[in-house]
Amino acid sequence: MAELGSLERAVMEALWELSSGAPNATFTARQVAQSFPDHAYTTLLTILDRLAKKGFVEQIRDGKTHHYRSTKSRDEYIAELMHEALNGTSDRNAALVRFAQTVASDQAAILREVLRSVEGQRQRGQDS
């Protein structure tokens, strides 16, 4: 699976920007191209095609023209990342945090107790 280039990301951001008012709206490549005056139209077509192959963009055919829309919103992708990070479905070697987040409330109390004693020790160390 290839890495996502910066132009691909920019195109996705343009699509999200365009659809910020209307979540299900679709856009032609020309409409997307307006956000990229420095890039050739054919380049944008290639990028959109690549994004469609990767599943980030839906390609809807309407007669001769293609319409595009992002498969998911930015927030949905972020939620997906967070969900995976917190559940560790693909990556069980996760974080400092994971255990912390499964901690029950009585254990959070133990943690706070430890923190207090650590800080108390530190205070005494500085005083003496």
Binding site: D91, Q107, L111, V118
Partner: protein, 283 residues
């Protein structure tokens, strides 16, 4: 028959008393990396003993009433053309050993491929929505209020923090968290954990295996904590741990029995004379 019995004995001793002893031991918290190596050796030894036991079992079934055949006799008769020389009992032993080995290798390979694919997709999503920030040079930030930090392992591994974590943590606390994650990446903890988690996930009913995988995971977190504590003091560390824990969604807790966090926080206490951390001066 003594050969296979001996190997079986070794397996039983390692799978039961030694495992229970290691799981209950508290000294492992002080030397997490040594304890992980101990678990690795134990796992490897059980695997080799099981495989060797099957082969040795085959060897012990004498094909004729003559002198007992040794392991080397059987392996010499292993080439395909001469395989018919094995008695059905011997064939059973050899086949069982080979199947056992093939299953383990197959399970590991399958999960490795699956993990690789999932990580590549995760990396793509990060490329799509995560941002770099100048003040956090080697990590990616994803815009989410929930405080979290994690490592996406692999050759193109990445350290990820949520904007919630950046907001809630002071800069020295964030530095501890990042040092902790960098330790995971540098020491390839994902590879260490991989065989344990794979076998545990393939045998979900085997609580012993799950407990061992969980212990290895905790020990690796502790090893990363030790690394983080080299750039920080215990106080900042525990504060960071508490802040991240405090942000936990109660619905995800399920009254978890895990004592991991308190165990990890406890070992950073300066008054624990024998702790590897506390030998450092706290000031």
């Amino acid at each position: 028959m003594t050969g296979p019995l001996l190997l079986l004995g070794i397996v039983v001793v390692m799978v039961w008393p030694i495992r229970v002893f290691l799981l209950k031991a508290t000294w492992t918290s002080n030397t997490p990396r040594a304890a992980v190596i101990l678990w690795q050796s134990l796992g490897l030894a059980v695997g080799i003993a099981l495989f060797g036991g099957c082969i040795e079992l085959a060897a012990s079934f004498s094909s004729n009433p003559g002198p007992r055949r040794s392991l080397t006799d059987v392996s010499r008769s292993l080439p395909v053309t001469t395989v018919s020389r094995l008695t059905p009992n011997q064939e059973f032993g050899v086949t069982a050993g080979l199947i056992l080995g093939a299953i383990v290798i197959g399970v590991l390979l399958t999960r490795a491929v699956g993990l690789r694919r999932a990580r590549a997709y995760h990396r793509q999503l990060l490329d799509l929505v995560a941002e770099e920030r100048v003040e956090i040079p080697d990590a990616l930030v994803i815009d989410h209020p929930r405080a979290t930090a994690y490592t996406l392992p692999g050759r193109h591994g990445r350290i990820v923090v949520s904007s919630g974590a950046v907001a809630v943590l002071a800069s020295d606390e964030l530095a501890v968290v990042l040092a902790h994650e960098r330790a995971h990446v540098a020491a390839h903890h994902d590879l260490v954990l991989f065989p344990f988690e794979t076998l545990a996930s393939k045998a979900p009913r085997c609580h012993a295996l799950a407990a061992v995988a969980e212990d290895v995971r905790t020990l690796l977190e502790m090893a990363a904590d030790d690394y983080a504590l080299r750039v920080s003091d215990p106080c900042t560390f525990v504060r960071a741990l508490c802040k991240l824990a405090g942000d936990g969604d109660p619905s995800l807790s399920f009254g978890s029995e895990s004592t991991t966090v308190s165990r990890r926080a406890e070992r950073s206490r300066p008054d624990r004379g024998h702790s590897s951390i506390s030998r450092r001066p706290v000031a």
